[in-house]
């Protein structure tokens, strides 16, 4: 085991797959020599693998995604980077109409083994076009898989699985977790999609969430432990496929559920999860399911506004106390 940042663990996973399979290549804006990616995830890879396999592109999101599709269906394994999650709006046709549907609408004649990496999330005061959490858009698109790694020890195993997957994977990252450190296994390991991880065991309430909210939830759980409230924390690790079993089993144990994400509330992944739990575990619930999300507004710029927008430890703690 080696302690490393999420960023370095992610890069190590990509690097291992590039060494393992020469069909794997990277494309995106400013990912190569001059910049190494806006969040430096690919820094050093162009030096090692050359600018053909770590390829800077023009600012053309729809064609970056489309080129990944075209390469994927003709024998390559592209890993495309969209610099900010918000900018996927420019590539929606290729992601949702083409990549997601090709296997289906062509009757299984082709596979689209591509990975589209992009960071979501706020907290850096970069306003409405660089801060959103849009994973629900893609959860609503059959044919895509969605990984949502929140921890360094998971991101490496998940990116390796994503790159080897025969279906298109939206690999969502989060800007505030790139610097988070954890012990990461040195040997090769893959994390299967659709297996949640219980990050903390508890007895009184289940908390399900994603990305930086899980880091906050762990802090909150330690605080609440002192008050005698025992919180079980579940990280789904992938949204599609979604591990409902781990969640339902936990809810059946605790009888209470709090859902926490940074998404705006209406139509968020938390709404879907709440619906699943009431369908499958209604009789085990001892209290209403609580959702902690951002308000239904664009992401604001000014620090006091953004701090209000993004759920904080206090709001998470309050939601738990409300139902315990």
């Amino acid at each position: 085991m080696t302690e490393m940042t999420y960023r370095d663990a992610l890069k190590a996973g990509i690097r291992e797959e590039m060494l393992r399979d020469e069909r794997v290549f990277l494309l995106g804006e400013d990912i190569a020599l001059n910049w190494g990616g806006a969040f430096k995830v690919t820094k050093g890879l162009a030096e090692e693998f050359g600018e053909e396999r770590v390829r800077d592109t023009p600012i053309s999101e729809n064609t970056i995604a489309g080129a990944a599709v075209g390469a994927a269906i003709t024998g390559m394994k592209p890993v495309a980077e969209i610099m900010f999650g918000d900018l996927i709006a420019l590539a929606m046709d290729q992601v949702c109409n083409q990549a997601a549907k090709m296997r289906y609408m062509f009757g299984g004649q082709t596979s689209v083994p591509l990975v589209l990496r992009t960071p979501f999330g706020g907290g850096k005061n970069i306003a409405s076009h660089h801060s959103q959490s849009l994973e629900a858009w893609f959860m609503h698109t059959p044919g895509l898989k969605i990984a949502v790694p929140a921890f360094a020890s998971d991101v490496k195993g998940l990116i390796k699985t994503a790159i080897r997957d025969p279906d298109p994977v939206l690999f969502a990252e989060h800007k505030l977790v790139y610097d988070k450190k954890e012990e990461v296994p040195d040997d090769e390991y893959l994390i299967p999609f659709g297996q949640a991880k219980i990050r903390r065991e508890g007895a009184d309430v289940t908390l399900w969430g994603t990305f930086i909210m899980l880091h906050k939830a762990l802090e909150v759980a330690n605080e609440l432990e002192k008050e005698g409230i025992s919180v079980e924390i579940i990280d789904p690790r992938t949204l599609v496929p979604l591990d409902t079993k781990t969640l339902i089993d936990s809810v059946k144990k605790t009888g209470r559920l709090v859902l926490v994400t940074e998404e705006t509330k209406t139509g968020a992944t938390t709404a879907e999860v709440a619906a699943i739990v009431q369908e499958e575990a209604f009789d085990w619930l001892d209290a209403p399911i609580k959702r902690v999300n951002a308000p239904d507004t664009p992401v604001p710029f000014s620090p006091p506004l953004e701090d209000y927008f993004i759920p904080d430890n206090k709001r998470i703690a309050q939601a738990i106390r409300d139902i315990v």
Binding site: T57, Q94, G107
Partner: protein, 324 residues
């Protein structure tokens, strides 16, 4: 360019094959057994015939929303193609795609698409893949005059030029985007002029003359195969029918329609006359080709009609490589 006799005969055969296929589709539509809508290739046969005759089997084509002709010209199995149009289980897409997604990967068709201009980025990726895998295959991308007004046109032409991709852009200018004349939406006299800004050589050819299309494509393919980068060929042509199933195309001026739809401009007539004049085929041989193709098409229609419908629950198949 001195064109071999067997090539001339092939141009006639492919042009006629598409014509007979599409006439059959029109008849089946008249029988009211074609679900949904259709974008017929009738009138534009010279383009697909000329382009595909300049390709080798392992070259790829990216089709558009008006794709029947492309797929048939590239050598698709007509049974599976007609069965697909009727929504049958034996269709090339198992009844999941229909007219707008008619595709046969095994003969090098990357896909037909219902989103105008969405094929261009995919062609970029396929050509990049051919280049990176060091094959000598080229990719041809068919799209209409209307697609040249979409953002992907600029993104994709640009990317193909900077990377010198083995790609040929084929604009099928039939002068109407649905009902909107190109002169209302494009300030230049030709679509081909737009390529200049991307340093892509271009030319305009008579799309109703399969030989002219063939000769232009041969040059473009040679350049692409030798690493010289992309070429754009604007093939000017005309729809014999409206945009789609129920469109009588009354918005087209009578004089213009009379010119394009005159027997002398007809794609089958044009190539037949050339091939006969050049002594590559006798009238008797031409008739034999026609009767052989007609039988093939008739048999395909019988196959399609007799094929079983997909089972309703097949709706759920082929979303992912393995059901999740």
């Amino acid at each position: 360019m001195a064109v071999e006799k067997k090539i001339l005969k092939e141009l006639y055969t492919r042009t006629l094959k598409i014509r007979l296929f599409e006439e059959k589709v029109w008849d089946l539509f008249g029988e009211n057994i074609v679900p949904g809508t259709l974008h017929l290739y009738l009138g534009q046969e010279g383009v697909a015939a000329g382009v595909t005759t300049a390709l080798k089997d392992s070259d790829w084509i990216q089709s558009s929303h008006r794709g029947h002709g492309h797929v048939i010209a590239k050598g698709a199995d007509m049974n599976a193609a007609l069965a697909e149009l009727l929504g049958k289980k034996t269709g090339s897409c198992k009844g999941k795609g229909g007219s707008m997604h008619i595709t046969q990967f095994n003969v090098g068709v990357l896909g037909a698409t219902g989103v105008v201009a969405s094929g261009l980025p995919i062609a970029v990726g396929a050509a990049l893949s051919c280049q990176m895998r060091k094959t000598d295959d080229v990719v041809v991308c068919f799209f209409g005059d209307g697609a040249s007004n979409n953002g992907t046109f600029g993104e994709s032409l640009n990317m193909s030029a900077i990377w010198k991709l083995p790609l040929v852009w084929i604009v099928e200018n039939n002068f109407y985007a649905m009902g909107t004349p190109i002169k209302m939406t494009c300030p230049s006299a030709t679509v081909a002029q737009r390529a200049e800004g991307y340093c892509i050589p271009s030319q305009v050819v008579d799309g109703n003359n399969a030989l002219a299309v063939y000769e232009a494509t041969v040059e473009a393919v040679k350049t692409a195969r030798e690493g010289g980068g992309p070429t754009l060929i604007e093939c000017q042509t005309y729809r014999m029918k409206g945009h789609s199933r129920f469109d009588p195309a009354k918005y087209r001026p009578q004089e213009e329609a009379d010119y394009w739809l005159s027997p002398e401009k007809d794609a089958v007539h044009v190539i037949k006359k050339i091939v006969l004049e050049q002594g590559a085929m006798t009238e008797k041989e031409a008739e034999k080709i026609r009767s052989t193709l007609q039988k093939e098409v008739d048999k395909a229609a019988e196959f399609a009609k007799k094929s079983e419908q997909p089972a309703p629950e097949e709706t759920l198949d082929d979303v992912y490589a393995e059901a999740i």
